[in-house]
Symmetry: D2
Subunit: 314 residues, 4 copies
């Protein structure tokens, strides 16, 4: 395996997972600013090489964790070199002008993913929100014309490790704020395109927030229903039975429950005192695992014909 | 002034504000478990006395920061002793079975508060949410039958300083979770009663969350509107013109903006890509200041005929 | 394996390590206050049983993570039931009146540990400090009569998860303090007894501090030397060659370097501008791993004739 | 007053103190990268102007919080314009090649400071350590030839708010490390020069550490004594009697004790079990207050003939 853009948080997590994986090995890990740096990942020392020193033709599959905008061209180079690719940027995801690419929400798309030359790994917020919403739409439970309100809160690793003043410890500690307000966050393209593919008759309102923690995304979602549910968890129990990386929980999930694990943990309760039946759905992921590197390895396992759970902490 | 229940976080903040206040002095500060303890508050040493050692008849006004349930009877003793009271518990707030008590949302009720023998100081979440919602209802801007979705996140001081395992540093750090889910938090009584008093035709969905920070509440609220607004901030500019403790902000407020200040900071933007016009309102307070001790002193200033802003950091 | 006192932080870490261990299984995990609680540890659900429900005679080895003072009697019951024991309390450690018990600083005592019926697992601070100091004394490098100054800083899990006000998130966040000042911390018995066993001609001054983080201990130690060293790292390179769980580092170790790993990471530099030659030694461990549960499993691996590194993240 | 380099943490704190000061007003606040930015400081909106727009000849006194190296030339321009200066950089401090400049350890140097055209404001670590050590040397209590071991831990605001990867929240949270190891930190020049001015016969060993908190410095210092002390606090009680900004404490000071206050809080206990009498001294400051902006304003108050405590939170 090779990793392009390995020095960011998702890239480092990818290297760590590959190095601990029973069937994969790491041929190269590239970085630009941090080329030449040696860091400890997955119990080993890894030295980042310059992008030009990556032997794309020597590996079967390349993970691209390059910045948004820069990834698409790299994936083309990977393909030209004869390798397959899992792209963690948003360049190739639904809603971003590159239709026809396999979308790596693993649990939904296994057949397509197995043979795909390129997989667009989903965004962290979309994984957290869409994994929770899909069973409700598939089972026709969402009130037509509904406004679904999704509030998410993410740890700072979601913003990357490029030095920015607003991400300094002295700025983030003891603070909390919304951003991308007004339904403008770029992950909305991916989510709206996916809702469109489902023929979902609903509006999505999405507001992300920045948490003073390192990792994790919690989404709190209100969904108007066609009718009350006898068992609020039934839609997920039915849809995700036997899934190794999806947990249905009676208790509200917390970020601690999912830290360093490749899972989506979902819970739901009916909302009291509303005239229309509504559900409160909560969904927790580790943004660097099921929200990025973990799901990327899960997809690679499928693409390579390996056990889908190999090398992934559940 | 006297403070009952002074050893909790709100009680300590009250003592500090009184000790730094230009016109008030602190006659006693009671505590139960921590009686006899001396702590530094407001630049002075304060020794907590046993509740029985409080000379209620020696003071003009008593703040009660006793636990919910225990406060009501104490307020009656305060009144029997001839003093006035500001009660920070939820015992006397709207929706809790004690109608007729002045409700200390200062900006709405000045006339009633000036002469009130007892004031029910609002809850922290209701201050954050209702201060933001009132102009929209007063001006008839909320779509009839709307579901208003309020997601709030609070620092841990909102949960008090009684030792509980789930509030230990080792449990809270690097975690985040929703609680009181399903529209069941006890502050809903207060908020629903207030919406009822406004004859509001709307459902409120409220989900609080626990943040790994010490202080602050940020509320993120979606409100369906009757029609789009030309200026999303106009409702608050109109309603709160000249208010010393309400800030209308073009930028989304953060908790750092309001820390240690007796203000509500409010912003709003229209939501893109929804078929019904909707507004995203964000509201930030320091839960111990405008959400508790600060607003209590603001109310006491009014009751005592002082400058309403005396002793309060804006 | 059985775990007594499994609900504390060290006990939970022990359960997690046993459940992920390739050769061990968990027969029971006891708790007192938390009996009956089910928690997720090591990828599994674990239900704590009452102490009386532990089948001591069904297991080969029992880990006791009971509180200091309560552990000694339990270890006697374990032995009476025919099982071997690793005790994580300080009851049986050197300097606490129970001589003759094998001391579980694994790297020093392998022969004795293999056959030991009972092992006293070292304290977290002593592991951090004594692992760093031993090569200097063994090689005769410490100036006779020296005062060795050890300043350590520990995450809050070292203080356990019993609810105490001073350990609440609201108290610990944004704070830092020394405690056990004046050379009075109870781990000094263990460290002085060990120095005595080495015939060390030195005074130890030890000051622990409480960090606003969950886990990790960093010790910063100044050591007067008999003479300057050509290679400041040579004493450890010589003493710990080939040790799988001891890392000698050119860079100063940070707590991030050792989190969730069963290692001691040590560095050293000469001190400039002192008339006597002195070394600054820094030593980092995860207090719950090499400082508690990890070293306990390392010792159990030896006792049971298993690969010493089995089940331990390096 | 004017502030040069106002956009850093110390510069912002200076602006806030000046804006809340009863006798000072802020004529300009300059910034380079952040010129034109408007921020809320001290209850007001402040807009940073470009350095060239500062009217140095319009003000009586200028605070320079410019980066080390850049400050010296600016102070010369301030003097040429006829204003006095307080320089917060290390350019003019003792040991940095600029002898003859008044050294702003206020409590030691009041006579010289009153008339000084330029004052070198002390470093944060030197304030914490030297304020604690001076009474011991002045009173001849330190053992001749002693090695004084000072371990300090500082919040991240001490490292400034320039964007650097190692200061990102995701890097600092849940971590702790020593830096400037081997007695090489640049504040040692200032401390050694001061010890030299006292004719101190002692070596100083200084190791700073980086804490995952915003503000505060705690120094833990071991000092060999000529003889045991009857009252470990007596040296400071004698030396600092009546000082408004120095607190002698029976309890070990914590950073919470001094946050946002212009004080040094000092405690001391004898060390048990050492053959040579030794004292453990702990000293806490807010690095942005008594360690920077607060002491700068204290010095300016003196220079301008104002009450030394004006505008400073004790």
């Amino acid at each position: 395996m090779g990793v392009l853009g390995a020095s960011g948080y998702a890239g480092r997590e990818l290297c760590a997972l590959i190095l601990r994986h029973p069937h994969l090995s790491l041929a190269f890990a590239t970085a630009n600013d941090q080329r030449g740096a040696t860091v400890r990942l997955g119990g080993r020392e890894v030295t980042f090489v310059a992008p030009d020193d990556a032997r794309l033709d020597d590996v079967e599959l390349v993970f691209s964790a390059l910045p948004h905008g820069a990834s698409k061209a790299s994936v083309e180079r990977v393909q030209a070199a004869g390798a397959r690719a899992v792209d963690l940027s948003h360049d190739l995801r639904p809603g971003n002008g590159c239709e026809g690419i396999a979308y790596g929400m693993t649990e939904w798309n296994r057949e397509q993913l197995r043979g795909a030359p390129v997989v667009a790994n989903p965004g962290c917020y979309p994984t957290s929100i869409l994994m929770a919403l899909k069973p409700l739409f598939d089972q026709g439970l969402v009130a037509p014309g509904a406004a679904i309100i999704a509030n998410s809160a993410s740890g700072v690793t979601g913003a990357g490790n490029s030095p920015k003043r607003e991400l300094l410890f002295g700025e983030v500690t003891e603070d909390y704020r919304a951003y991308g307000i007004g339904n403008t966050h770029r992950h909305l393209n991916e989510m709206r395109a996916t809702l469109g593919a489902w023929n979902a008759d609903a509006d999505l309102v999405f507001t992300p927030h920045l948490l003073p923690i390192a990792r994790g995304i919690l989404s709190t979602i209100t969904v108007p229903l066609t009718a009350p549910l006898d068992d609020a968890l039934a839609p997920w129990k039915d849809a995700y039975r036997g899934e190794p990386f999806i947990e249905i929980s009676h208790d509200t999930p917390t970020l601690r429950d999912v830290a360093h694990r490749n899972v989506v943990r979902i819970s739901a309760v009916p909302l009291a005192n509303t005239r229309q039946p509504m559900l409160l759905v909560t969904s927790a992921i580790d943004n660097l695992m099921k929200g990025a590197a973990g799901q990327a390895v899960q997809n690679a396992n499928l693409m390579l014909g390996l056990d889908e759970t190999a090398g992934l902490p559940a």
